[in-house]
C-alpha cells in the first residue's frame, strides 16, 4: 500500500519522494477525512451501540420491526432499479461517445457533465414540475389521447426512480465511456475479419471489455442511490419511505438519535460489504486505472 502511494510522487527533478514527504503531502487530506467523515460516523455508530445503555436493541428494532425492514428493502430495490435504468440509458450514450468524432464526443460529453454542476435540488424540482397533474408529461399524454385524465405521477416510487436515474446518469456514462474508449479499433476490425457480424462483435468483444466500466458505474450509482435524500423526499410518496428520509425523520422529528444511528449503521454495513464484494470480484484497483 505505502509503496503504491510512494511510487506516485516525484520531486520535480525526477527523484522519488521519501515516505515521510509523501505522508506529509497526504496528511491534510486524511486529516479532513478523519475530521468530517471518520469521526462523525464513528460517533454515530458509538451512539447506536451505547444509548440509552450499552445494547443491541437499536439494531434489533431495525431488523425485527417489519416497517423498518420494509424501508430497508425498498431502499435496496430502488437503488437496484435506478442502477438498472442508468445502465440501459447510459450505455448507448457512452457507446456513441466512444465511437463519435472527437468534436461530437466532446459535445455529448459536455451535455452529460453539465447537469452535474447544477444542484440536485434544481434537477429534482424540475421533475416535480414536469410530473405534476397539469405538468408537461400529463398534458402530453392527454393531448395524444393515451390517457383521458391526468395520471398520478408525482409522489410515486416511479417518479423517484426516474428522477434519481436522471441525477445519477453521468456517474454511469463516464466510467462506461472510459472502458469503451480504451478498446482499440483494431479489436473490432480483428473480430470482423475473423468472421464476426457486428452484433457478435458487440456481444463477444465490446460488451465483455466494457464490463469493468459498467461495474464501476453501477457501484457508484448504486451506493449513491442507497443514501439519496432530496429526490425521495421531494418526489416520493410519504407512505413509501426510503432509508435516508427515515433517518432524517428520526433525527429531526422523533429526536431518536440512537435508532437513527442504528439505521445508519445498517446502511454503512451494506455499503461496505458491497464495496468489498465489488473490489474482490471485479478487481476495483484495475477499474481505477492500476495495472
Amino acid at each position: 500500500m505505502t509503496s503504491g502511494i510512494r511510487s506516485q510522487f516525484w520531486h520535480s527533478d525526477g527523484r522519488r519522494l521519501s515516505g515521510l514527504s509523501t505522508l506529509l503531502l497526504l496528511l491534510p487530506f486524511f486529516a479532513i477525512i478523519a475530521f468530517v467523515f471518520v469521526y462523525p460516523i464513528g460517533q454515530l455508530l458509538w451512539i447506536s451501540f451505547t444509548e440509552p445503555k450499552p445494547t443491541l436493541d437499536n439494531y434489533a428494532r431495525v431488523v425485527t420491526n417489519p416497517v423498518y425492514a420494509r424501508v430497508l428493502l425498498r431502499t435496496l430495490w430502488t437503488a437496484v432499479l435506478v442502477t438498472g435504468l442508468c445502465v440501459i440509458l447510459g450505455f448507448p450514450v457512452a457507446y456513441y461517445m466512444s465511437r463519435a468524432r472527437a468534436a461530437v464526443a466532446a459535445f455529448v460529453g459536455v451535455c452529460v457533465i453539465l447537469p452535474l454542476w447544477s444542484s440536485v435540488l434544481v434537477r429534482t424540482a424540475a421533475w416535480s414540475f414536469l410530473l405534476q397533474r397539469q405538468g408537461l408529461v400529463n398534458s402530453g399524454l392527454m393531448a395524444t389521447g393515451i390517457t383521458s385524465e391526468p395520471l398520478k405521477l408525482l409522489y410515486t416510487q416511479s417518479a423517484v426512480v426516474v428522477a434519481m436515474a436522471h441525477v445519477l446518469l453521468p456517474f454511469m456514462i463516464l466510467p462506461i465511456f472510459g472502458a469503451l474508449r480504451s478498446i482499440p479499433d483494431d479489436y473490432m476490425r480483428a473480430a470482423a475479419v475473423l468472421g464476426a457480424p457486428r452484433f457478435r462483435t458487440f456481444l463477444e468483444v465490446i460488451l465483455p471489455l466494457s464490463l469493468p466500466g459498467i461495474a464501476s458505474g453501477s457501484l457508484l450509482v448504486f451506493l449513491t442511490a442507497l443514501g439519496f435524500f432530496i429526490t425521495p423526499a421531494l418526489l416520493g410518496s410519504p407512505q413509501e419511505l426510503m432509508i435516508a428520509t427515515l433517518v432524517s425523520q428520526q433525527i429531526r422529528e422523533v429526536l431518536d438519535w440512537p435508532f437513527a444511528s442504528a439505521l445508519v449503521g445498517v446502511l454503512t454495513l451494506f455499503v461496505t460489504l458491497l464495496a468489498l464484494i465489488f473490489s474482490k470480484t471485479l478487481r476495483f484497483d484495475r477499474l481505477m486505472g492500476a495495472q
Binding site: P184, R189, A190, G195
Partner: protein, 369 residues
C-alpha cells in the same frame, strides 16, 4: 501435418484500377496488381503511400472509390469484412484480452458455428503450428510480444483462409524477435501454400521475405517485381533511392550511340554501356548516374569507370568500412568496403580514386536531387 496443402492452398488476387479518395486526397490512385495463388507479395512504401489503404480495401475495412478486387473467382470489392474469409494479422497483435489464448484462436471457428470439441481441437493444432502448443490456458497479458504475434498468426490461419493479410506485423517487435518471426512466417507460407500480402515500410524485410515487392508512393505503384530486380535495376529514381542505399551523381549526356558518353562533375568522361540506361536519353540532356555504395572499389586509376572523390570521413564498423566523400559540385559519395580493406595512405581530406564495374552503373533521365 493435418493442415495439408490442398485444403489451404492460396487464392489468386486481382486488384484492378483501385482508387480510394478521402475528400480531395487520393490515398490510392489507380493501382493494378495481379497476385498469383500462393504468392508472397510485399507492399512497401513510406507512410502515406497508400499501402495500408490497399490492405484495408482487401480486408473490407474500406470500400474503394473505384476499381475492384477479385479473390479467387469472387468479386469481393464491396463484401463486408466478416464475409470475406481472409486471415489477417495486425501490428498490435489484437488478441482479445478477456479470452484465453485457446479461446482467441478458436474465436473465428466459433463465429463459423464449429462445434466446441472440434473448435478446440483445431485451435490446439493451430497453436502447435506456431510452436505454442500448451499455451492455450494462458492470457495474452502473460505472453511476450513475439508469442502474442504467433498466437495472432495461429488465429488467422485456423479457419484455413486462402489469403493472409499482414499489416506491419513485425514492427512492434525488437530486432532479434523480428528476424525469428520473419523465418516463422516464411515457413508457414511454404507449409500452407497460402497467398500472403504483407505491408511494411521496412525495405530489407520486404526484400527478405517476399517473392515480389510492390513499391508504392503517393498512391501509385512505382515498381513491382522480384527483390533482386528491384534492388539491381530500380525502375525509377524514387525506387532507386527508397530501396537500399544509392549514390546519385548528376551527369551530362554528351552523345548517345552504341555507348552513352557522360561527363561527371569530377571531370571524368565515361562511355557507359547503353544497357545501363533505364530511361531513354538524348545527347545534351542532364541525367543521373546511380551506383550502389557496395559496388564502389578503391583504386583503379586509369580504369574505364574511375573517378576522384575528396574523402571527408572514414567510419570503421567491424565487418564494413564506410567511406564518405564529395565531388567538386558537393555531391556526397558513399562507399562500403569490406572492413579488412587496406586503405594505407587514405585519410580524411585526401583524394581517393574509386572505380565501378560497368554492370553496376544505372542511368536515369532528370537532374540530380
Amino acid at each position: 501435418m493435418a493442415m495439408n496443402r490442398e485444403q489451404t492452398a492460396g487464392a489468386s488476387i486481382r486488384i484492378s484500377r483501385l482508387e480510394k479518395r478521402f475528400g480531395n486526397v487520393s490515398a490510392v490512385d489507380g493501382v493494378d496488381i495481379d497476385i498469383s495463388a500462393g504468392e508472397f507479395l510485399a507492399l512497401l512504401g513510406p507512410s502515406g503511400s497508400g499501402k495500408t489503404t490497399i490492405l484495408m480495401s482487401l480486408a473490407g475495412f474500406e470500400f474503394p472509390t473505384a476499381g475492384n478486387i477479385v479473390i479467387g473467382s469472387e468479386d469481393l470489392t464491396y463484401v463486408p469484412a466478416n464475409k470475406r474469409n481472409l486471415g489477417m494479422v495486425f501490428q498490435n497483435y489484437t488478441l482479445f484480452p478477456h479470452m484465453s489464448i485457446l479461446d482467441n484462436v478458436a474465436f473465428p471457428l466459433k463465429m463459423r458455428g464449429v462445434a466446441k470439441p472440434e473448435r478446440y481441437a483445431r485451435a490446439e493444432e493451430a497453436l502447435a503450428t506456431v510452436r505454442l502448443a500448451g499455451y492455450g490456458e494462458r492470457f495474452s497479458s502473460q505472453l511476450s510480444g513475439g508469442q502474442q504475434q504467433r498466437v495472432a498468426l495461429a488465429r488467422a490461419i485456423v479457419y484455413r483462409p486462402r489469403v493472409l493479410l499482414m499489416d506491419e506485423p513485425l514492427s512492434a517487435l525488437d530486432k532479434n524477435l523480428r528476424e525469428d518471426m520473419q523465418l516463422e512466417i516464411k515457413r508457414l507460407h511454404a507449409e500452407l501454400g497460402i497467398t500472403v500480402i504483407f505491408v511494411t515500410h521496412d525495405q530489407s524485410e520486404a526484400l527478405t521475405m517476399a517473392d515480389r515487392v510492390a513499391v508504392l508512393k503517393d498512391g501509385r505503384i512505382q515498381q513491382i517485381g522480384p527483390s533482386r530486380e528491384l534492388y539491381e535495376r530500380p525502375a525509377n529514381l524514387f525506387t532507386a533511392g527508397f530501396i537500399g542505399e544509392m549514390n546519385f551523381i548528376g551527369v551530362t549526356v554528351e552523345s548517345v550511340g552504341e555507348a552513352i558518353a557522360v561527363s561527371l562533375p569530377s571531370g571524368e568522361h565515361w562511355n557507359v554501356p547503353s544497357t545501363s540506361a533505364v530511361d531513354p536519353l538524348q545527347a545534351g540532356q542532364k541525367a543521373v548516374l546511380a551506383v550502389r555504395p557496395e559496388r564502389l572499389q578503391i583504386g583503379g586509376e586509369g580504369a574505364a569507370f574511375a573517378f576522384h572523390v575528396k574523402l571527408a570521413d572514414i567510419v570503421y564498423a567491424g565487418s564494413a568500412l564506410l567511406l564518405i566523400g564529395h565531388l567538386p559540385d558537393g555531391t556526397e559519395i558513399r562507399a562500403r568496403l569490406p572492413g579488412a580493406s587496406d586503405l594505407s595512405t587514405l585519410t580524411p581530406g585526401a583524394t581517393a580514386v574509386f572505380s565501378v564495374p560497368k554492370e553496376a552503373i544505372l542511368l536515369y533521365a532528370g537532374g540530380a536531387k
